[in-house]
Amino acid sequence: MNLNKPNFSRRDFFKAGSIIVGGITVATALTPFDGLLFATEPPKGKGKWYGIGIDINKCIGCGNCAKACKLENNVPKDPFYFRSWVEQYTIKNDGSVLVESPNGGIDGFKQSVPDEEIFKSFFVPKMCNHCAKSPCVQVCPVGATFETPEGIVLVDENYCIGCRYCVQACPYGCRFINPEKGTAEKCTLCIHRLDKGQQPACFEMCPTEARIFGDLNDPGSKINYFLKNHTCMVIKPNLNTGSKLFYNALSPEVR
């Protein structure tokens, strides 16, 4: 169909018109299935919507959060299974970046670079970002990982088939396959503790209050106070994951 031809007939006009109108109608009719495209619904401003804040300036790298997480959630003891861990970033004078995390920081950190060579050094506690548009939720072929209405990304252990798609999809490396169960495992924001009115274990055990946690929908919550008073940033904002883990004093070297 060529619209530029000189004698554009009535028949051609109706053809083109019906294609455009029909297309718009079909697209509109499909909007309720947006969820399939974006995997999760955006927050609606009702109920709780959990967010996390971490102040890098306050973190002393004690590893209490990593230790508490392992003990609270029966995470395998091996040094490569973590739901929550701490990384020590050391930026040298020549600009190179060294990231260390011996046993996730549970046994403490040692600075391997002599002080003269260090430009700056800091600790970055890492955990699940509980993204609003989680890549891990989108790739799950069976619907075993999902986001609760409160914004917590969970794994359904009984439904997971252990295909490891989500482990690859997570840009923050926050998932692993439990060697005993053979299913994906990740931070649950200690939903079992939240249910009983307790704080998540890593927040509870932080000695410097570097970790803040609360309801983003509540204007008076701790997390909103933290966000208002600090210049916060998420890791890898370019990926548009809708991360809800906000860092204060985050250096661009952190990834």
Binding site: N57, G61, A68, Y89, G108, V113, E157, H192, Q198
Partner: protein, 169 residues
Amino acid sequence: MPQHIKRLIGAFAVVIILFLLLQTILRPTSFGKIGHYRADAIQENKMKELHYAGSDKCTKCHEEMKTDKEVGFHATLQCEACHGPGLKHAMYADKFKDGKLPDSLMLHKPGSRKECVICHQLNAARVKIVFDTINNSMIKQIDPMKHNLVDKRNFAKLVCIECHNPHQP
């Protein structure tokens, strides 16, 4: 309508009905209630066992520690951060009120160089403005190989809590 089209429609109908039937049988009942997942899985995740009690439970019995700790540098340090998860310890505390708890329920008492140094080892990453919310001071750091070391062979024997009160350092 031609015969072959009718047959095709019939075949499609059978496949669709079979699919719907199988789906209703195989699909878990709570699947799709809230979203594309099993709604019961939220409850299952909530049912998991707790291990950490929280300091409120600790200070119910160990009140003197609370008053001790409140004024010191370790005010914001939770009991269980050093002593380990203590929900079982707290749960059985009432049952053994007169006597002592069995050893298996007793909590860890740290104080060696290895343990205190996890937070207090000298480290460039730690040297920065880390303010204690109460005393407004930086975290104290030591080099464990130099700090109060009389004899290097005695390293393991040197215990931090002999000089420092861990609850009020």
